[in-house]
């Protein structure tokens, strides 16, 4: 007994050491890049670019892209880690705390840019900058400098089922709240459920819906500044008077139990025809296609008032942004990689076709067949100039969760429109910097 005990003790220690060696073997990123700091043209020593990104939808395509890049760029290795957005931020902070920062990572822009400002490389001088769409650059601009690389554009509003709309005889997309109610009646007459409300998802309430209203406020930046200084309130703003009205229409014409319907359930419902409209954006295309490849979905602005003109340009776009770590020893190689992605033929091919995302560069044209019907609608709105930038990332961090909770309370009948707006205000005051 005792001998075996001692032996096992020794084994534990030995194996711990072995495990340590084994797991440490692939940490080449921070070693052997003396050449990197001096300009990066010297590729004699092997360097590794660590890319840590949160679009899990393109994880597979990135792996293929990585192989392509490594083939044409001897001496450069790319290490890709794709992580769900729900875990992304926490893991990034852990990486930072452990001094294992990646070389390229995601950033949400505006307030998120401010949080990570110490780590962001100035990309203003990069060759692709003039080619990038302005609205995609806006969230990453500070004092005239650009700190992010917009990989793609995303747009949100109401996603609708084109077949259902056609069968219900809706030829004109509803442009006002009254027309939205009218369309709902027509859909109901056909036996369809007009709305899929996934109000268990704080994301869809607090960002997709809330932002549709926030972005419509004339001179949003001033409104936000006034909210911070106390000069403006949600209750005193005309646009936000439409929010409870929209929620009322959606609730009256929606699925039962919206508060237990989460994002994933709602995707299934929309894709399988259990509802005609859902507040969402072009990012749902791959999910919906997986469940029902035959669905014809489109994107329309979410009406926020009864003024048709006011609701014309109401598809909201926000870019997916990659940033380069300022303190990375391989930042030059990282920049070169980003540049290659949007200037070389192979890179362009991936951005335009393989990722199935709407590109944020003027010279890269996406084929509707590749980006899907929702993405095609988004491109159309954006080309016609009928899009507005998303505001969510200008707001205090964490605000959307509290906003969503107040909205949940309202749709559950636990508060009045005035109380809801007052709660928005209280959350804002609590979380503002």
């Amino acid at each position: 007994m005792k001998r075996s005990f001692i032996i096992s003790c020794v084994l534990v220690l030995m194996c711990c050491l072995l495990a340590a060696c084994g797991a440490n073997s692939n940490s080449g990123a921070n070693t052997g890049n003396d050449a990197a700091g001096t300009g990066g043209s010297n590729a004699q020593k092997e360097v590794t670019i660590k890319l840590y990104q949160q679009k899990v939808e393109i994880a597979e395509q990135l792996k293929v892209l990585k192989a392509e890049y490594e083939k044409t760029h001897p001496g450069v290795k790319i290490e890709i880690e794709s992580v769900l957005s729900s875990q992304y931020g926490t893991k990034l902070k852990a990486k930072l705390a452990a001094n294992e920062m990646p070389d390229i990572f995601n950033n949400g822009g505006y307030s998120d840019m401010d949080v990570w400002a110490d780590h962001l490389e100035d990309l203003t001088d990069q060759p692709w900058v003039s080619d990038a769409v302005d609205s995609a650059k806006a969230p990453m601009m500070k004092d005239g400098k650009l700190y992010g690389f917009p990989l793609s554009l995303e747009g949100s509003g109401l996603v609708y089922n084109k077949d259902m709309f056609a069968k219900a005889g809706i030829t004109e997309l509803p442009k006002t709240l009254s027309e939205l109610e009218e369309a709902s009646k027509k859909l109901k007459a056909q036996g369809y459920t007009p709305f899929v409300n996934d109000y268990a998802s704080v994301w869809d309430l607090g960002i997709t819906i809330f932002d549709s209203f926030m972005a419509k406020v004339p001179d949003t930046d001033k409104f936000i500044a006034d909210l911070n200084s106390g000069a403006a309130t949600f209750a005193g703003n005309d646009v936000f008077k439409g929010l409870p009205k929209y929620l009322d229409i959606a609730m009256k014409n929606g699925n039962p139990n919206p508060l237990t319907t989460d994002y994933n359930t709602s995707m299934t419902m929309f894709a399988t025809g259990q509802g005609a409209m859902i507040p969402a954006g072009n990012w749902i295309q791959p999910l919906v296609d997986k469940i029902n490849p035959n669905i014809q979905a489109g994107l329309m602005p979410m009406p926020v008032s009864d003024d048709a003109d006011f609701n014309k340009n109401a598809v909201f776009t926000s870019p997916t942004v990659w940033v380069v770590n300022k303190n990375s020893p391989v930042k030059e190689q990282a920049k070169e990689f980003l540049n290659w992605l949007v200037t070389s033929d192979i890179g362009k091919q991936y951005v335009a076709k393989e990722f199935k995302l709407v590109p944020a560069f003027k010279s890269i044209k996406a084929d509707p067949a590749d980006v899907g019907s929702i993405g095609a609608d988004l491109t159309k709105f954006s080309e016609e100039g009928n899009s507005l930038p998303m505001q969510a990332s200008k707001m205090p961090e964490g605000l959307y969760t509290e906003i969503a909770q107040s909205m949940q309370k309202y749709v559950a009948g636990k508060s009045t429109p005035d109380q809801m707006l007052a709660e928005f205000q209280a959350s804002w005051n609590k979380l503002k910097k």
Binding site: M1, K2, A19, T90, T272
Partner: protein, 277 residues
């Protein structure tokens, strides 16, 4: 049919217990049955048996999880954390219980206090320290973390068990010429066996199923555990319950097997130990 020691009225009690057990089992029924269904069938008929066994759910889940690698990683972590915990906790428990100085009483309450510290409040500083000493992305780091986090509960279990061991046994060992170390390793350690099995199973359940720690410390591809792989897959495939459920089943089967193998000892071990304090 029944012996005299089995009165007929107990048949009713037995039946009741059996029905209750069925209620407890029903969630497993849902998960396992639905993991064999096609997606459409799963949505339309959740409670019935599958019409056709869709084994391909498991084939896909196996591939998506990278099961052999995740399994190996989780196993290594679980084994070494367990060994470490058993060694350090049993030794400390022995000393703290048998040598109740003021210092040791204080240490004991320090260890117990750790059981109420929420992990969320120490994880960032811990990760920071791991970064300084190059323990990030190593199994050593994870094992050390588990040893630190688990030592309190394990010590708690051992100490009440040791308290129940009559002191006379050790005293006679000392008379026979054992040093305190010899007494511990030759006399006490064999006596601890039932508790050790319990500790082993309870800690394995915890470590095998833990998610936040490996998510933070093991961030490189190829180092994922079953839990981190499951959770990231679960997020991606959440709309595809068929695949997601197969993933879940594959995550829980190994612990279930361990538990079935050891269950007699576990219940016995807790019976012998946990409560004699």
């Amino acid at each position: 049919m029944f012996g005299r020691s089995y009165p007929f009225k107990w048949f009713g009690i037995e039946l009741l217990a059996f029905l209750l057990a069925l209620v407890f089992l029903s969630p497993f029924y849902f998960v396992i049955v639905n993991s064999f269904k096609s997606f459409a069938e799963l949505l339309t008929d959740t409670s019935g048996l599958p019409g056709v066994l869709h084994v391909e759910n498991y084939v896909n889940a196996w591939k998506a999880l990278n099961y052999p690698v995740a399994f190996k990683n989780t196993l290594i972590i679980t084994i070494f954390s367990n060994l470490g915990l058993i060694i350090i906790s049993s030794m400390a428990a022995y000393r703290l219980v048998r040598n109740k100085t003021r210092m040791n009483r204080f240490l004991f309450s320090m260890f117990m206090l750790a059981m109420v510290i929420p992990f969320q409040s120490i994880m960032i500083p811990m990760v920071k320290m791991f970064g300084w000493v190059n323990l990030m992305n190593t199994f050593t780091g994870v094992v050390i973390a588990y040893m630190g986090m688990g030592v309190s509960f394990t010590l708690f279990l051992y100490s009440s068990f040791i308290l129940a061991i009559p002191k006379e046994i050790e005293e006679s060992a000392v008379v026979d010429g054992c040093t305190p170390y010899g007494t511990f390793f030759r006399i006490i350690v064999p006596l601890l066996k039932p508790m050790t099995v319990t500790v082993l199973v309870l800690n394995s359940l915890w470590i095998w199923n833990d998610f936040l720690l490996p998510m933070l410390v093991l961030q490189k591809p190829g180092l994922q555990t079953i839990q981190t792989a499951t959770s990231s897959l679960f997020g991606q495939y959440m709309t595809q319950w068929d695949l997601a459920l197969a993933v879940l089943v594959m995550g829980m089967v190994p612990v279930m097997l361990l538990f079935f193998m050891a269950q007699r000892h576990v219940i016995q071990g807790i019976a012998d130990g946990a409560v004699k304090g």
